[in-house]
């Protein structure tokens, strides 16, 4: 057993998860999980193809959030977008939206 193996500390900080609602147009990434705070919401989204692993790209954020997932454009309200946790792709042209 060697103590040198840095098991407790990851070599690279884990890329942070963002909610879909916080992403700017043009950002792409992968869905990591859907927050299950409302009954049936995750199932509804899954039936439309939005589930862990799905690649998405934000198209528009105002007046509603529109994003692309698997060749389909979907419009959702902010509350729904907040439940979709996304891992932003590295090469994505993301910038902060306040």
């Amino acid at each position: 057993m060697s103590r040198s193996k840095p098991q407790t500390r990851p070599a690279k900080p884990e890329p942070e998860l963002r909610t879909l609602a916080s992403l700017a147009p043009g950002t792409s990434g992968r869905v990591v999980r859907i927050t299950r705070d409302l009954t049936g919401r995750a199932e509804r989204l899954a039936a439309l193809g939005i589930s862990a692993g799905a690649a998405i790209r934000v198209l528009q954020t105002f007046p509603g959030i529109v994003f692309e997932c698997d060749q389909t454009e979907l419009a959702v309200e902010r509350a729904v977008a907040r439940a979709i946790m996304v891992q932003v792709a590295d090469n994505s042209s993301a910038w902060e939206v306040t």
Binding site: E43, A47, P63
Partner: protein
């Protein structure tokens, strides 16, 4: 193209078999994948085809010859899931699978969305019915760089997989040929994993995504209509073009030609001359008198309403097929949420402009009972149907644009107020706003003409008889003195509160039979010069808000029960009359004459 021989482990079942009843084949699939197009191709029957999810809300049946066997084909409303939390549509489809109404399933899939389609395939597999998978809209998928190895997919699933472009009829003969070898698919349950993972994995294995060759203009347009900076001017343009086509060409030019030239110049004088030979005065009046079947019933329905309905259905069908209407939901979502609905409710509301009765049925696409109740009430209250809308444009367009805008502003305000209060007063919740936007497409002329033709036929079959019955009823009431009694009984409201000529009372009676019939009555009053501009605005506002027509009321009762129906009727009448009274008072105090 794959063919049935791509599935080696399947034994062809004999085509001819003795059955107690024809084999029932259900077309099932996600919303807006073209089930109704395939249905039309298989059966030769037309089921309404549009480019938005939720066009089909009921089950349509037709017959198709497959080989030498006659089959029942069932078109179903689109479903995204068959387990978990289900919408009303999804429950209808699920029940059909459970109780054996469907013995074989043809799943129609949008080839662009293999993953979602397979998620449904996997759930369908649990019902243990022989299946076929149709990858429809393959041309559009290819344009987006999606390529599917359908032969390998067929092998993996153990069922026939057909590549198709149903609107062009491609893949339909292959589909017919594959029906005898339909099989129960191998899916998630056989792999021992959940539907989602299975669909993910399977889609990834058989699909490659390459370069997109989609038309630049289409892409630009799809973006432009949903962004506020370009979308709102486009909406204004859409409304203006609709107004030009329906309000000017339909309600003014065509109505003018039909009413004044064809009916005024030929038919009515000829009919009057002919009936002059009838010795019985009552019979003469019944045909060509003030409330004559020809001079009133036919003139109203054919000369005033028909041109307007036809032009409207044409424009409306165009926008339906283009994929534009669901994009309005993005703009409407915020407002609708304050009314206890969500953006999705834009669909039934806008469809109400075509026909409120149909729209009442389309509220099935909404998620919760509360949303459906609010939407049905608002449609009954404020959404004018095509015929009514056009008579409104025809009358007020002739007075001034301000008159038209006043009416729309008042009606919209009422809808928002009622919606806002209903959202707070009624128990229950609204559902999440999650809406799939269909691709922007150039509408197909053939579908547009077929659809418009069928709608016009429906109008002629449904509305014209009601116009005639209504006219006969008015004639009878007039003869029996009931009309005079009603007119004087309603005088305090009609003349007093609303400031209208007392004759307007009978127009409201007509309006209950069909709103457009009442509006047509106002149209002739306005033409006779017996309505001032102010009176026209007040009368039309009340008529718009007034009770839904008989057909719509019956539909409300059918969908939501008698109690709800009567409650909505009472409520809407009260709102209509009080709004008219307030509007009349304000306009008179401000000395607005239009």
């Amino acid at each position: 193209m794959p063919c049935p021989h791509a599935i080696p482990d399947l034994k062809a079942t004999p085509l001819l078999r003795l059955r107690a009843h024809p084999l029932r084949i259900a077309l099932i699939g996600n919303p807006n994948v073209g089930k109704s197009v395939v249905f039309g191709r298989l059966t030769g029957r037309y089921a309404t085809v549009s480019n938005y999810p939720g066009t089909t809300v009921t089950i349509t049946k037709g017959r198709a010859m497959v080989g030498a066997e006659m089959c029942d084909v069932i078109d179903t409303p689109g479903v995204n899931a068959l387990e978990g939390v289900l919408s009303e549509d999804e429950r209808i489809t699920r029940e059909m699978l459970v109780d054996g109404g469907a013995e074989m399933v043809v799943q129609i899939a949008d080839a662009r969305n293999l993953r979602r389609a397979l998620l449904l395939t996997s759930q369908l597999a649990d019902f243990k019915r022989p299946m076929i998978l149709v990858l429809n809209m393959l041309d559009e998928a290819r344009a987006r760089g999606v390529d599917i190895d359908s032969e390998a997919l067929a092998e993996c699933l153990g069922i026939p997989v057909i590549e198709a472009v149903a609107t062009e009829g491609r893949g339909m003969s292959e589909l017919r040929a594959a029906l005898p070898v339909a099989a129960i698919p191998r899916a998630a349950r056989d792999a021992g994993i959940d539907h989602l993972h299975w669909a993910d994995g399977t889609a990834a294995r058989f699909r490659t995504i390459g370069t997109v060759t989609l038309g630049r203009f289409q892409e630009w347009l799809g973006r432009a209509v949903r962004q506020p900076l370009t979308g709102l001017p486009i909406l204004a343009l859409v409304l203006y073009v609709t107004y030009l086509f329906v309000g000017v060409l339909g309600a003014q030019t065509l109505v003018g030609a039909l009413e004044n030239v064809v009916f005024g110049g030929y038919i009515n004088p000829a009919a009057t001359a002919l009936t002059a030979h009838i010795p019985i005065a009552v019979a003469r009046d019944f045909l060509t008198g003030q409330y004559g079947l020809i001079t009133m019933g036919l003139t109203y329905s054919i000369a005033i309403v028909l041109p307007v309905v036809t032009t409207f259905f044409l424009v409306f069908g165009f926008f339906e097929d283009s994929g534009y209407i669901p994009r309005l939901a993005i703009f409407a979502d915020r407002l609708f949420r304050s009314m206890g609905l969500n953006g999705k409710a834009v669909l039934p509301m806008v469809l109400g402009l075509g026909c409120d009765t149909m729209a009442t049925m389309t509220t099935r696409i909404l998620g919760t009972p509360k949303e459906r109740l609010i939407a049905i009430t608002l449609i009954a209250l404020g959404v004018p149907c095509s015929a009514q809308l056009a008579t409104i444009m025809g009358i007020l367009g002739g007075i001034s644009v301000w008159a038209l805008l006043t009416l729309f502003a008042v009606v919209l305000m009422q809808m928002v107020i009622v919606g806002f209060l209903a959202a707070r007063a009624l128990p229950g919740d609204r559902s999440d706003f999650i809406l799939e936007l269909p691709p922007i497409r150039m509408p197909r002329l053939r579908n547009l003409l077929t659809k418009t033709g069928l709608r016009v036929k429906w109008y002629l079959g449904e509305a014209v008889p009601l116009f005639l019955i209504g006219t006969a009823l008015l004639f009878l009431m007039d003869r029996l003195g009931a009309l005079a009694w009603l007119t004087s009984a309603a005088r305090p409201i009609v003349t007093g509160a609303l400031g209208l000529p007392s004759d307007a009372a009978q127009v409201f009676v007509m309006g209950f039979l069909r709103r457009d019939y009442g509006a047509a009555g106002l149209f002739t009053m306005a033409h006779d010069g017996s309505l001032t501009g102010l009176q026209a605005v007040v009368a039309l506002t009340v008529m718009t808000l007034f009770v839904p027509c008989v057909a719509n009321l019956l539909m409300i009762i059918k969908e939501r029960g008698l109690r709800v129906g009567v409650a909505i009727l009472t409520f809407v009448t009260i709102v209509a009359i009080s709004t008219g009274t307030v509007l009349n008072t304000i306009l008179r105090v401000l000395h607005v004459t239009f």
